[in-house]
């Protein structure tokens, strides 16, 4: 991997393009960055590796002028700089492509490219802006549609718009925050090619990621952050995944293959606990989000669902739990058709749901921990009897769930948004596991969690599987799916491209299906 980067290794003594010196940043109750020292050389791809919450995004927000450091210096090309606002960072040649794109959805691509740019002509018309955009796209070799409305574009296309916007401001330091989360393996390779071309002109790239393999593939040097501090900076050539993982987490981490069953585990059932045929559903915008899905799930089995985010995963998890109605087809649970049933009925049928966006759908952030904990069982005894709601019983249930989730809670009456993301997710997971007697639908359960919390989450899922429930695990981390699933289905544009048994799988084949190419005919055995 390193050989292709021969032209980018700088000679000793080259001053760094970016020198972050002793950066500190604090938030309420959290040390986001503590004394971080990082140097980025010209012509280098420098990776920032760390778990979720390690402080990578915060550090970059400081470099781009969105946050101001509480202590420390930013030195660009030898000059100390202070960025009171993003425009000053942009003027210094720094551009960032954020994880959550900063694009105006209602505007066209051309309008977004020209936003806040002093080179935009004072008089603005669609044709002029689009022509300029087309020219820029050509010069940077990026494929975008100037006249398209951003909200109509796929996430991969939106990312290209973000990149073009940043490059056209003559950024010489390009920062990318977890860019491959929204790309297929093939698109990711294309991105890497573009990045190498970029640095070959003497520019620099800072690449934020938590994916070890990716970081080893693309970067020249890697800085590892842990709990807000910089632990080490290493040459990529000197590292392997195990070493990096250990630096990232601070202890030896073995990424388990969890597919094996222990002694007490319930075996996979013969009949399916869930059978889906011809299932279609509409998305929020009225267009078809799921097309003609056919698959089944057995008790004691984990079915992984792979695919780039935005291809129907959200709608799938909603349809399987009754939050969204199907527009066609059938869902049969334990032999019972679920047509016309709502969320409450699905829950009563023993289906739990860890939603993709816990703050939006799974929790009421402003309400107390107790209120949130009993959300699935508030209508049943002991919490409710007759029409009455017992605050004491609710508090007891909340304590039980918090205990099972191993979350220390100082005050159960406080709003749940005061808890960390990891704690919130653990509470939601255990809450759902209590009612998931037959099926658990888990959508991106490890998103936003650190490695420790992820391991816990995955263990919960295995626990549930061994107790005899079927699990549908939707995830964007292929490694996670490979370590847990018995079978893997690939979702692309609302269709199942294929369902594969998870033994000796070819990653490239999955990658192709994720990108919409190749389809396995023999998809499903009932």
């Amino acid at each position: 991997m390193q050989d292709e980067n021969a032209s980018t290794t700088s000679t000793p003594g080259t001053p760094p393009r970016v020198y972050l010196k002793g950066i500190c940043k604090y938030f309420p109750g959290v040390i986001a960055n503590e004394n971080v020292d990082i140097e980025v050389l010209p012509g280098e791809i420098h990776a920032l590796l760390g778990e979720n919450g390690a402080g990578k995004s915060t550090l970059m927000n400081i470099l781009t002028g969105i946050y101001q450091p509480d202590a420390g210096e930013i030195i660009i090309d030898g000059y100390s700089k202070q960025f009171a606002s993003p425009i000053q960072a942009i003027a210094a040649g720094i551009g960032m492509v954020h994880q959550h794109f900063k694009l105006v959805q209602a505007f066209t691509v051309a309008e977004n490219i020209h936003l806040g740019w002093d080179e935009t002509p004072k008089r603005v018309s669609a044709s002029v802006l689009e022509a300029r955009t087309a020219e820029l796209a050509k010069s940077f070799n990026l494929d975008v549609k100037p006249g398209a409305r951003v909200s109509d574009l796929s996430t991969g296309e939106q990312q290209r718009v973000e990149i073009l916007r940043v490059l056209s401001r003559r950024a010489r330091i390009l920062i990318l925050d977890e860019p491959t989360a929204v790309l297929t393996p093939a698109e990711a390779r294309e991105l890497f090619r573009a990045l190498r071309e970029f640095v070959s002109h003497g520019n620099s790239v800072i690449f934020i990621s938590h994916k070890l393999d990716e970081v080893l593939e693309i970067s020249d040097r890697i800085s590892i952050l842990r709990q807000g501090r910089k632990i080490a900076t290493e040459q990529a050539a000197d590292c392997d995944p195990r070493k990096l993982a250990k630096l990232m987490v601070g202890r030896d981490i073995v990424l388990d293959d969890m597919r094996g069953r222990g002694a007490g585990a319930k075996p996979k059932s013969a009949e399916s606990v869930l059978k889906v045929s011809g299932l279609s559903a509409l998305g929020d915008n009225g267009l078809t989000a799921l097309r003609d899905l056919n698959f089944s799930l057995r008790a004691g089995e984990i079915l992984g669902v792979a695919g780039v985010a935005g291809n129907g995963q959200r709608e799938l998890s909603q349809v399987l739990t009754g939050v969204r109605p199907a527009s066609a087809g059938e869902i049969i649970i334990d032999g019972k058709p679920m047509a016309g049933m709502k969320a409450g009925d699905f829950a009563a049928a023993g289906i739990g749901h860890i939603p993709e966006d816990r703050l939006h759908s799974g929790l009421a952030p402003a309400m107390s921990i107790i209120t949130n904990a009993v959300m699935r069982e508030y209508a049943k005894p002991p919490v409710a009897r007759g029409g009455f709601f017992s605050r004491d019983a609710a508090a007891r249930l909340a304590r039980e769930i918090a205990g099972a989730a191993d979350v220390a809670i100082p005050d159960f009456a406080m709003p749940i948004r005061n808890l960390s993301g990891g704690n919130q997710q653990r509470l939601v997971a255990r809450r759902e596991m209590r009612i998931a007697e037959r099926i658990l639908v888990a959508a991106y359960p490890s998103r936003g969690l650190d490695v420790g919390a992820i391991n816990t989450m995955l263990r919960y899922i295995v626990e549930l599987r061994d107790a005899g429930a079927g699990v549908i695990l939707i995830s964007e981390e292929l490694e996670e799916l490979l370590n847990l699933s018995d079978r893997i289905a690939v979702l692309y544009e609302g269709r199942i491209m294929g369902i594969l048994e998870n033994d000796q799988l070819d990653i490239d084949e999955i990658g192709l299906m994720m990108g919409g190419r190749s389809r396995i005919r023999a998809g499903e055995a009932a």
């Binding site: 604090y26 938030f27 309420p28 509480d70 739990t321 009754g322 939050v323 709502k342 969320a343 409450g344 009925d345 699905f346 829950a347 749901h353 939603p355 939006h360 759908s361 799974g362 929790l363 009421a364 952030p365 402003a366 309400m367 209120t371 009993v374 959300m375 699935r376 508030y378 209508a379 409710a384 029409g387 009455f388 709601f389 017992s390 605050r391 406080m414 709003p415 948004r417 005061n418």
Partner: protein
């Protein structure tokens, strides 16, 4: 050692309360300043107000009588808040309730006790009816209730003005209806049984909200409708029920004013009660029991304005001061999320 100001995800009830107290104090000081600049002596006025309202039987009764509509409109707005809506139409629902009470009291022959019961039902129903269209528009078409509830205030006020000075007017006075025969019995002086009824209503509704399954569903729906839907709660149904309840309570306020206090229907029967009710609900931070105390406080403020009318203070000035309190409370509420922390070395 440096001090930093940070915004927390939640504020605590204590700090929020303190912020409100500070807001009120600042507004009062400002008013005192204005009065002083206009040649009055604020401390003397304050003394006059306190002795007239708190240390005098008639004063206390006046306070009590103003308390009823203010507390109830505050309750109405607070109820709307439980499901996440702003009922700015409490003023109009008040008028609607007053209208219904007068219609029943003047034109439906019945023994007094029955008449009063029918008026109560009529007040509730009219208030709910008056918020019906905005409710349906919000529930089925997602039309914001802010303006839809508000414009109906003007319609209701015009309607009441029309009947009170037109078809129903008393031949003696051209601006009001004849006296309504059935009167809510008096409890103490001019304070009638509506007073304990209103307080009881607030307490009962508060208990229902925190101790029933329905109450849990309503609170969750108001806080995060997406999460409520995901939990299988019929959010739309609750939205409609609670908004109608909010209207009904404001309608009750109007009915009690007509049948208990004024005993006739007249053009300006509401003294901005619906709008001040918003202040009451905000002071109480949405708590259904809190509106009892907030209502008492705002009643005191309103009453002071009436007492000081001889000194040149009018209901308009009190309205302006109420606005200032609301403004400072809104700022204070936001500031109460900030904490000053010490930097570690």
């Amino acid at each position: 050692m440096a001090l930093r100001i940070q915004r927390m995800p939640s504020s605590t009830p204590m700090i929020a309360l303190a912020a409100r107290v500070v807001a009120v104090v600042l507004a009062l000081l400002f008013t005192a300043l204005i009065l002083a600049m206009n040649g009055h002596a604020p401390l003397d006025l304050a003394g006059e107000v306190l002795s007239s309202s708190l240390f005098d039987d008639f004063g206390l009764q006046d306070l009590g009588v103003i308390f009823i509509p203010l507390m109830l409109t505050g309750l109405s707005v607070a109820i709307g808040q439980q499901i996440g809506t702003w009922n700015i139409g409490a003023e109009g629902q008040f008028y609607a309730g007053a209208f219904a009470a007068a219609a029943i009291g003047l034109f439906v022959p019945a023994p007094d006790w029955l008449s009063i019961l029918m008026m109560v039902a009529g007040g509730f129903a009219a208030g709910a009816l008056w918020i019906l269209i905005p409710t349906l528009a919000k529930a089925y078409a997602d039309v914001s209730e802010l303006i839809s509830t508000l414009v109906l205030n003007f319609v209701a006020a015009l309607l009441v003005y029309y009947v009170a000075t037109g078809p129903w007017h008393d031949r003696m006075t051209n601006s009001a209806t004849p006296a309504i025969p059935a009167e809510i019995p008096e409890l103490w002086g001019v304070i009638h049984w509506g007073f304990p009824f209103a307080i009881l209503l607030a307490i009962v509704l508060s208990l229902v909200l925190s101790n029933t399954k329905w109450g849990y569903e309503v609170r969750l729906s108001g806080s995060n409708p997406s999460a409520a839907k995901y939990a299988g709660i019929p959010v739309r149904r609750h939205l409609i029920t609670v908004m109608l309840l909010s209207g009904a309570v404001a309608g009750l306020a109007g009915m009690l004013e007509v049948a208990g206090t004024v005993h006739r229907l007249q053009g300006g029967i509401s003294n901005n009660f619906g709008y001040i009710g918003i202040m009451v609900a905000v002071l109480a931070r949405g708590s259904l029991v809190g509106v009892i105390f907030a209502g008492a406080f705002m009643a005191f403020i309103q009453n002071s304005g009436i007492i000081l009318q001889t000194e040149g203070l009018t209901t308009s000035s009190v309205l302006a001061m109420t606005g200032l309190i609301l403004f400072l409370t809104a700022i204070g509420e936001e500031l109460s999320y900030y904490r000053i922390t010490r930097e570690k070395i």
